[in-house]
Symmetry: C2
Subunit: 228 residues, 2 copies
């Protein structure tokens, strides 16, 4: 109604945009919707983790998993990003990016070629996980991201393994998604050109499971793998 005060608090369904999560390129493709961000993150298991070492950027692929508004990222205690978080743990500034390619967009003009994709970029300070219970939760989450249901169907980590498993956590706070969908955007004057144009869908595909030679007798392929 006219004159009625509108709610001013930000919606809890979206991340608050910041200077570095508003892209300068194609800002119309950006989204801060939590549901969309979660869906993109939950579909993947490999992220690209960026950090700064001696003033220079480093980008490494590694496994990640999500629990609510927290990400867990895997690495051995020997890996560089994790050694920087430690006892004193001031945290490590990171940028974690997850990208899914959904299609090749082949335009009539070289210039308008593109990719349909969904990506999430997370900025923040990562901290080492030291609590054994949280370590175990993190490891289970990483395993379940690779194949849903797998953590419950494997031997849990023992104390020695947990001690050798470095996991960092990164809270979802400064986050954006970017999505391109749809077809080609050729110039009107190019439409009559004889070049084929359109989209080639791209997806992740799984091959037939290759069983380990030493499976215990009678071990069957579980349903959650058949479903892949």
């Amino acid at each position: 109604m006219q004159g009625t005060q509108q709610p001013t608090s930000p919606p809890t369904t979206a991340y608050t945009p910041t200077d570095r999560t508003v892209p300068t390129r194609s800002p119309d493709r950006a989204s801060y919707d939590k549901e969309l961000v979660h869906a993109i993150l939950d579909e993947g298991y490999v992220c690209h983790l960026g950090f700064v070492r001696d003033g220079a950027p480093v980008v490494l692929p590694t496994l990640y998993g999500r629990v609510g508004e927290r990400l867990y990222v895997h690495g051995s205690t020997g890996s560089r990003p994790l050694r920087m978080t430690g006892e004193a743990d001031p945290g490590l500034a990171v940028c974690l990016t997850v990208t899914h390619v959904d299609g090749l967009v082949l335009a009539r003009s070289a210039f308008h070629h593109s990719i349909n994709y969904r990506s999430v970029v997370v900025h923040g300070i990562a901290h080492q996980v030291t609590d054994p219970e949280e370590q175990r939760t993190a490891l289970d989450t990483l395993v379940d991201h690779v194949v849903a249901g797998r953590a419950a169907d494997s031997r849990p980590a023992n104390k020695k393994e947990l001690a050798a498993t470095a996991v960092i956590r990164l809270d979802l706070d400064e986050v954006s998604a970017k999505v391109r969908t749809g077809g080609v955007n050729d110039e009107p004057e190019d439409l009559s050109l004889p070049h084929w144009a359109g989209v080639i869908p791209v997806r992740r595909a799984y091959g037939s499971p290759l069983a380990d030679a030493d499976l215990a007798p009678g071990t069957e392929l579980p349903d959650y793998l058949t479903a892949l």
Copy 2:
């Protein structure tokens, strides 16, 4: 023969390892072989480009292509990494990473779960491409990385488009590959556990091409797309 001087120059078939291209984690998986690096790079078209902005890391997905020992990376002139290279062009310190996931390694123990992958990490200083001929070469290379043979079957960029196409170049000099292959590495005492273990192959798959609604009459799907 004994006493004969051995050649001391590094082999031209490998990149020279540096402090930052020797991984602290699983160094046995690292390789500096140029042929392997080229093969991994040539199989992809999306990289994750890392750079430093205001002291913090930024990792963005973008398209790339290779010509010999040089990579070209795409972005509009509005994008952040490219705006940092400019007229004076001192260059931008970047880390460019390409990762292919080849398989899910499902061990009996949560701890030994892994991924079969091939990745390349390139460290260096990126510079903006300003020469129009090199810009055109770069754009063609990016398009041909997405689909081999496509650049020749599209309208070349005109002057206005080249001016709006920012491309950076990054020479392959400080480079390493990292590869994990093979099966599960379970502990001997876990082999009798009743959990299925093995590798699920992962690959990129293409769907049926979705033709643009406005194709010129008589335009057929080209052979290089049927081959996908």
